[in-house]
Subunit: 326 residues, 2 copies
């Protein structure tokens, strides 16, 4: 990727064509935009996109990835250059690190602790201080991954219960349910979590890390990007829990934003649009970064997190999972 | 990838759209073709292609990769599903295997031996029997990778010299030169080798193997797909040496198929078209496979070779690099 370039978000249907060493982005009812290829780090497309081989070749030569989200924000696929960010050195270090039970458990433990702290942060309630302290104690004592998962499960159940005391009746979770979510609140959480997962996978694909070799999630299944699942954990509460809480407080969601069936709920078409706008705005919102001494978007925080893992693998720099500092 | 599906080669400019659970391939001056998604293993596009998000989503959900070659047959990039063929288990085994100097050297040695035998096969001359026997002796005795590479280099120099005795003066190599090729013969070899490399990378991307973790080529460089370079070795003579020899015998190449500069030569536009047709036809030609008991294309042989490496990693099945048996 072009180090100096930036991420371009294409939120409207468009055609991508090549014009010399630039991309020409053509949209209905507006004049085409010309982006010099060297200014582009990556492209994220949110709606119908139509791209031809000439543009693909130019993107490929400059190592620019196009991430394709479908209309509802789900990660549909990516257009990858022939030579991607492969680095045998990083993958070898990643395999070695994750194959060492003690080092792997230490990182799994820190991911669970940070995620729980971020849930506490997102819900802004001292009702979780007790469960959080109990979790920290159990994590320190845990020796097996079953014990780690057990401690996390206990905290999570407390947190979902506390969350229900904040939510209006129709949005209450009544416990976390997936595949399918059993009610509106769970449908919201599932949707937001899948967008976060997509952004984390995007960030990992811009590094030489292998997305399927992780620390916390078991990697025995094929086709599971366990590192992406791991890295998504500490970010999910920032979006799922936090936005649901905010939407409840601001009454910005309505029952008509969901479609409910017996024991299964999903966002309606209108609801998906609404939540996808919420997510996009939240990803673009910025905070001041103390080390970089500049404003960074939540989106960029996810990329920075992936780079922390690269430094862990290449330089042994200790990895401390993301926690909001603001 | 759909196990039962097959590879579709799109050799003309086309538009790819979605129609229910099928792809609709639209070409100028012909009726659209409908391909049920479950019938497709992967798509290889050779010319301008124009694809939209709806089609990308369908491809992604079914794990179908679109390999995009540019007009001249160079690998431009790939459209990859969100969840690709990742398997932590295979990559872990691959890293472990390639990190073991003895096992790594054994595979490097067998790749060099098979490649040399395939050069001998492609040139069909007993003038190489002596150098081949000398190589086998040196490989058996070699202990370092420098010694392996040295033995290979000696054989290769003999082989290029012998090749020149078969070629007409204007196509003679006068030693192998790259970046840039110094003359027409070298330009042909470079072009054919890069197409083979692209097909090998394609085959690897359809497996969980990491293309940058190899046996023979050093993997200290970033952005080098060393496993793809390794696996391309035994196949290159089948295309580069063999087709150049055939083209010389059939007088199917002309000096006007090349553009020559001082110390640098390349295929002309017409020459590239001609050689790209040769390559495509050769990749599609078939031989009877003794174990599978059916005809397979050269293209498929490359895919089968990648699967042999998967079995090596997953099941420890000894890997014997490809040699023509016909």
């Amino acid at each position: 990727m072009a180090a100096a370039g930036r991420t371009y978000w294409l939120t409207e249907p468009c055609r991508i064509r090549r014009e010399d060493n630039s991309l020409r982005i053509e949209r209905a009812d507006s004049t085409p935009v010309r982006l010099p290829i060297t200014d582009i780090r990556d492209l994220v497309t949110f709606d119908h996109v139509d791209i031809n081989t000439a543009a693909v070749s130019l993107l490929g030569r400059h190592g620019v990835v196009v991430h394709i989200l479908d209309h509802y924000g789900n990660y549909a696929g990516a257009l990858m250059p022939a030579e991607d960010m492969s680095s045998a050195q990083v993958v070898r270090a990643q395999v070695e690190l994750t194959a060492d039970p003690a080092r792997r458990a230490a990182i799994a433990r820190s991911l669970i602790a940070a995620t729980a702290a971020n849930v506490r942060w997102a819900l802004e309630t001292d009702l979780l201080d007790g469960p959080l302290a109990a979790l920290d104690g159990r994590l320190a004592a845990a020796e097996s991954s079953e014990e780690l998962m057990g401690a996390e499960g206990t905290f999570r159940r407390s947190a979902w219960g506390v969350f229900d005391t904040i939510l209006p009746a129709w949005l209450r979770l009544d416990g976390r349910t997936r595949r399918p979510p059993s009610n509106a609140g769970n449908a919201f959480i599932s949707y937001a979590n899948s967008v976060v997962y997509g952004r984390v996978l995007t960030a990992l694909r811009a590094t030489p890390l292998h997305p399927a070799i992780g620390f916390l999630h078991a990697d025995t299944d094929r086709r599971r990007n366990t590192l992406a699942l791991d890295l998504a954990e500490p970010f999910k509460p920032l979006f799922a829990e936090r936005l649901l809480r905010r939407a409840a407080a601001q009454k910005s969601l309505r029952p008509s934003d969901f479609e409910a069936d017996v024991g299964a709920a999903s966002l309606s078409r209108e609801g998906r649009k609404k939540v996808s706008v919420m997510m996009r705005e939240e990803l673009a919102s910025t905070v001041f970064h103390r080390t970089l001494k500049r404003k960074v978007s939540y989106e960029e925080l996810i990329h920075l997190e992936a780079l922390k893992l690269v430094r862990l693998c290449l330089e042994g720099t200790p990895y401390t999972p993301f926690r909001p500092w603001w």
